[in-house]
Symmetry: C2
Subunit: 265 residues, 2 copies
DNA sequence: CGACACCTTGAAGAGGTTCAAGAAATGTGG
DNA sequence: CCACATTTCTTGAACCTCTTCAAGGTGTCG
């Protein structure tokens, strides 16, 4: 059913990202890195820096850290010290309340920055869980702040990253507050595939890294509803679904579903 | 039914905030201000500054601006130049999509900072509408960034404000994604009254500045559902409601509704 | 006072949830 | 490497919450 193997879908154009980076082993969990060689640079670094500024910024990234699938990068209540740039792998962030409520607040992939929730209270207020084996660049926040005071481009970059997260969450609020199940799932798939495409993956094919339950939590739906909605999309010929492998057959139809069933103009 | 008059509820301890501030009229919409005298200082300024740092920061606030009820402080698509600190009044922020969806993303009151959505694209991505006559301090963002590079405490403060907004939105996602109508409205009321209390108003009484429809948009409910849920709370003796005047009779009951109907421990 | 915006309430209906059962994939240990 | 346990996914049926549509009431402001 799928022309592209799971491996190919996972790897894509940038599949060999890690192999280009000089690394100096420090301990089993951490290794030195160099941003200048990283091909995710354009995703997590400011552009148009002078050479000496770039040198400085490279010093921010103390170490890299590997996170096994299912393990937490950080947990609710944990002391906040660093932001993390995802090098490889896929994360979810979620909040859990004492009374047992649980909400996935986002899914994050390579090149995205994670940990911003921890700044305000100097403790993390959510969990970040790796949904596949992952590696992150550890960026001590105090170093970021220090350098931001010296390099205006970095300062602006940090501000934009935080603002982008705020705007993203506005979009999720719109989704949760005003969309029906089909619209939510369509928006979710389009968003995922668009972000993957920006990283060199297929526009039409994706491998979900999360369960139906996690999708449901993110979209404010029960897992059965997610499953049923997938089935409906399949019936309508909009997607092919085989467990976590999804192929989008009719992107326009998904867009129409999201846009309140209006023709795109 | 209400011991406190609407005026008293509106004004509260800090009702005469504006009268303490030296102002130099500049044009009909803008006047010079001094943070050092503002009794909202502790809400929107970093604490523990040296005198010279405080002087610098005061220069950030170029002007104040009045916004009439119903008018916009800024609109979607508008060029972003400044953040705004609310001095008096009450705002909603909302996004509207081409296909007619509309989502209130937040309600903001005195001492809160508004406009963070505009940083990432240097254009605002939502509308900020005054729900009552309001006055804001205009803080040009370039000046904020400049001074943040000089005053670490201000830099940290800006980061915390943005992080706080991210965490707040996580809470809204939890609400929209996992709560039923009663739970949403209870959480909404508790949140409002808690923020008002922090500003010197009553713990049990509040005057809603927004319509049922706006509450509904924020909570992902239809206005009829909001109205019915209010009525149910009244029947159960949890609140008194007379149009936009709300008196909370049983805070514990509201908390129990939010906490998944578990006893608070 | 009349026009308008806002709020309340009822009845019917739709969409999503819950409960339940079984199938398919995945992981584990011998 | 296979057998078994576990997790994940799908589907059906009944139920419930919220929405939709409709009508009437209340408050406000020029």
């Amino acid at each position: 059913m799928f022309e592209v193997t799971p491996e190919a879908a996972e790897t894509g154009k940038r599949g060999d990202a890690a192999s280009h980076v000089k690394t100096i082993p420090m301990n089993p969990l951490s290794i030195k890195v160099a941003c200048s060689n990283c091909n995710l640079r354009e995703l997590c670094m400011p552009m148009g820096l002078k050479a000496d500024e770039l040198d400085k910024i490279e010093e921010i990234i103390a170490v890299r850290r590997k996170v096994k699938r299912g393990a937490r990068l950080y947990s609710n209540g944990e002391k906040f010290t660093s932001l993390f740039a995802i090098r490889t792998g896929f994360f979810k962030t979620c909040i859990t309340t004492e009374d047992g409520r649980n909400q996935v607040t986002g899914f994050q992939m390579a090149g995205e920055i994670i940990g911003l929730d921890g700044i305000v209270k100097e403790r993390h207020t959510c969990d970040a869980v790796a949904l596949e084996d992952a590696e992150v660049c550890v960026m001590p926040f105090e170093r970021i702040e220090e350098l931001s005071r010296e390099v205006a481009a970095l300062q602006r970059h940090v501000h934009k990253i935080m603002s982008r997260e705020i705007v993203r969450e506005h979009g999720v609020m719109l989704l949760l507050g005003s969309m029906r199940a089909e619209e939510r799932l369509a928006a979710f798939l389009l968003n995922l595939v668009q972000r993957l495409h920006a990283r060199g993956f297929s526009q039409s094919e994706l491998l979900l890294r999360m369960t139906r339950e996690e999708i449901g939590s993110y979209l404010g739906l029960k897992l059965e509803t997610v499953s049923r909605t997938f089935s409906r999309f399949v019936e309508e010929g909009i997607v092919e679904v085989k467990q976590r492998h999804v192929r989008i057959l009719d992107t326009a139809a998904l867009k129409m579903i999201v846009n309140n069933n209006q023709q795109p103009c």
